[in-house]
């Protein structure tokens, strides 16, 4: 301790102020805020040895881990759910044996298991198959109402009749009275072998269509009436994504410049845009557009990029399978696979593409020309030209394990 410093209270030595260095440097030569060594981390420290892998978790799962709800948990649930919902939850919990639960929770080891972990509750357009609405409204379990049912209906009608009843009430009742039990659509709009109508509901010769339900629900979920353009509507219809999902995709304009068409009337200037779109989890697409308006070109190219999104093979969801080459015009580039934690050591255009696609470890080298537009196209071509080890194994007639172990040998 320096003698030049004044004496301090003994208890003060426990406070932060006694550290030898000045708390706030008098001069800062950089704009980033000062980091104190004794500052509290934002997240609690977590040791690797305390952690458990998903496999370990599932392997050590025992029936004791699936206990019924405690009183405290039940009171917490009561705040969220109605008594009938709570009863349904409890009935569901009671219906499953904890032993079965422990067995089902474990990762499968049988030969028919899937070789990846996936969430099957969500449908990813472009990767999964389209979900289509049921083709008919048919309800094969529908039955005609019996006399007792009709008596019940009439009894309910008279019981709910307002004090000053009119003929209109009776007409409404007879019109809405159903003759069958089962799905309502089965009776109102049954399956027919006749030729379908020329127009679907809400459609007319003038081409006016009713807004699809997708847009309405999206507006509700946004919580505000956001204007949905015609282009957005077409994008939603062609891709199958909801506007909310589209908003969550990462899109970026990588190249934009003006182009000129020389006609006999003069030069016609237009904006050119090249954008990429990705979901950060293996989907990537590029889109180009030209327009008189710069903003129009941006939106068009972004929407085209979203339409062109394709799954990109990724090794361990972080890097690529082997070194790949791409060539467009005079741009020749090489993308190289790298070990975990390597990062994206490549130029900005390829960096943005990797970020959008969810590739985290990659090195790239752009030889010859470095034209931005062709670089993006060549990088996309290279990413799509990856060879799948499973295909190689099938083609060569050698076992997959051999190929994997040999080619990656525990290092990459």
């Amino acid at each position: 301790m320096s003698f030049a410093r004044p004496a301090r209270c003994v208890f003060c030595s426990f406070s932060r102020g006694v550290s030898a260095g000045t708390r706030v440097p008098s001069r800062q030569f950089h704009p980033s805020p000062t980091q104190f060594t004794d500052r509290k981390p934002r997240f609690a420290n977590f040791k690797a040895r305390d952690g458990k892998t998903l496999e370990e978790l599932s392997r050590n799962m025992k029936p004791e881990h699936f206990q019924p709800y405690t009183e405290k948990e039940k009171t917490a649930l009561k705040e969220e759910y109605t008594p009938s919902q709570l009863a349904a939850i409890e009935a569901g919990e009671a219906a499953i044996d904890p032993k079965d639960m422990a067995e089902q929770f474990a990762l499968r080891k049988d030969p028919m298991r899937l070789h990846y972990i996936d969430d099957f509750s969500t449908i990813e357009p472009g990767v999964d198959k389209h979900v289509r609405a049921p083709k008919s409204n048919s309800d094969y379990n529908a039955t005609l109402k019996t006399d007792e049912d009709f008596i019940d209906d009439f009894a309910r009608f008279f019981a709910e009749l307002p004090s000053e009843a009119t003929a209109a009430d009776w007409v409404r009742f007879t019109e809405t009275l159903r003759l069958t039990r089962g799905k309502e659509e089965n009776e109102l709009n049954p399956h027919s072998a006749l030729v379908p109508d020329l127009f679907s509901p809400g459609e007319s010769l003038s081409g006016k269509t009713k807004l699809a339900e997708v847009f309405e629900t999206a507006e509700e979920s946004f919580g505000r009436k956001e204007e949905i353009t015609e282009a957005m509507k077409r994008l939603v219809q062609s891709t199958g994504y909801t506007p909310l999902q589209i908003a969550s995709l990462s899109t970026k304009v990588l190249v934009s410049h003006s182009v000129v068409n020389q006609t006999r009337l003069g030069k016609v200037r237009r904006m050119y845009c090249l954008s990429i779109a990705g979901n950060g989890n293996g989907l990537l697409g590029i889109g180009e557009a030209k327009s008189e308006e710069a903003s129009d070109a941006v939106t068009q190219s972004k929407y085209r990029a979203i339409r062109n999104m394709q799954p990109i093979p990724r090794y361990e969801s972080r890097t690529i399978f082997g070194d790949v080459k791409g060539k467009v015009g005079a741009v020749e580039l090489r993308l190289m696979t790298r070990p975990p934690g390597f990062g994206l050591r490549c130029q900005h255009l390829i960096y943005e593409m990797c970020r959008a696609a969810g590739i985290h470890d990659l090195a790239a080298r752009v030889d010859r020309s470095r034209n931005p537009m062709n670089t993006v196209k060549a990088a996309y071509e290279a990413l799509m030209s990856q060879r799948n080890p499973e295909d190689i194994a099938r083609a060569r007639g050698r076992k997959m394990v051999d190929v994997r172990k040999v080619y990656y040998s525990g290092r990459y």
Partner: protein, 170 residues
């Protein structure tokens, strides 16, 4: 060991797979035969059969000429026909793409490249050693001429032998 002829074989196989030939022939030498056996062992080619200037007859069931065909047999090697003998190589394709993607010579007739087993290990792990680039792509192989015959690089590492690096198959 003529690397000139081996280079011709590499180019010829590249050309043959590009035009999607089912079967092609290469000069009959011990080096070519051993290399073809190594390629067949790795699954790059379907069959290797010695035959005359015309393709040998196909196996009744397999639709490719085979060396152990009991029905048709393989032509006897005599002094009078040894000069006209060729190796007939059956090429493989998967989903319209050749399985034998591209063969590139590593050693050249003017520059023979040898490698030790310890160095070869690093090549297999993806590092570049001297004139030999690392094996980084899936489905890539290097073939070496060793004192135990022609072997794949990984087999060499397993058996701890080095040798002359012949060619690389992508």
């Amino acid at each position: 060991m003529s690397l000139v002829n081996l280079a011709h074989v590499c180019s010829h196989l590249n050309n043959a797979t590009r035009v999607r030939l089912g079967i092609t022939s290469i000069p009959n030498t011990l080096l070519h035969l051993q290399l073809c056996h190594a390629l067949q062992h790795s699954g790059y080619i379907s069959s290797v059969v010695r035959g005359g200037p015309t393709p040998p007859p196909q196996h009744t069931l397999l639709d490719v000429p085979t060396a152990n065909d009991e029905d048709k047999g393989v032509e006897m090697l005599t002094q009078s026909n040894v000069a006209s003998q060729r190796l007939w190589v059956g090429l493989k394709y998967w989903q319209s793409q050749p399985v034998l993607g591209k063969m590139v010579m590593v050693s050249k007739p003017t520059r023979r490249v040898t490698i030790r087993a310890s160095e070869l290990r690093n090549v297999i792990l993806g590092a570049d050693i001297g004139y030999v680039d690392g094996v980084r792509s899936p489905g890539e192989s290097i073939y070496l001429s060793t004192d135990r015959g022609i072997m794949e690089a990984r087999d060499c590492v397993r058996n701890k032998v080095g040798g002359l690096v012949l060619c690389r198959v992508l």
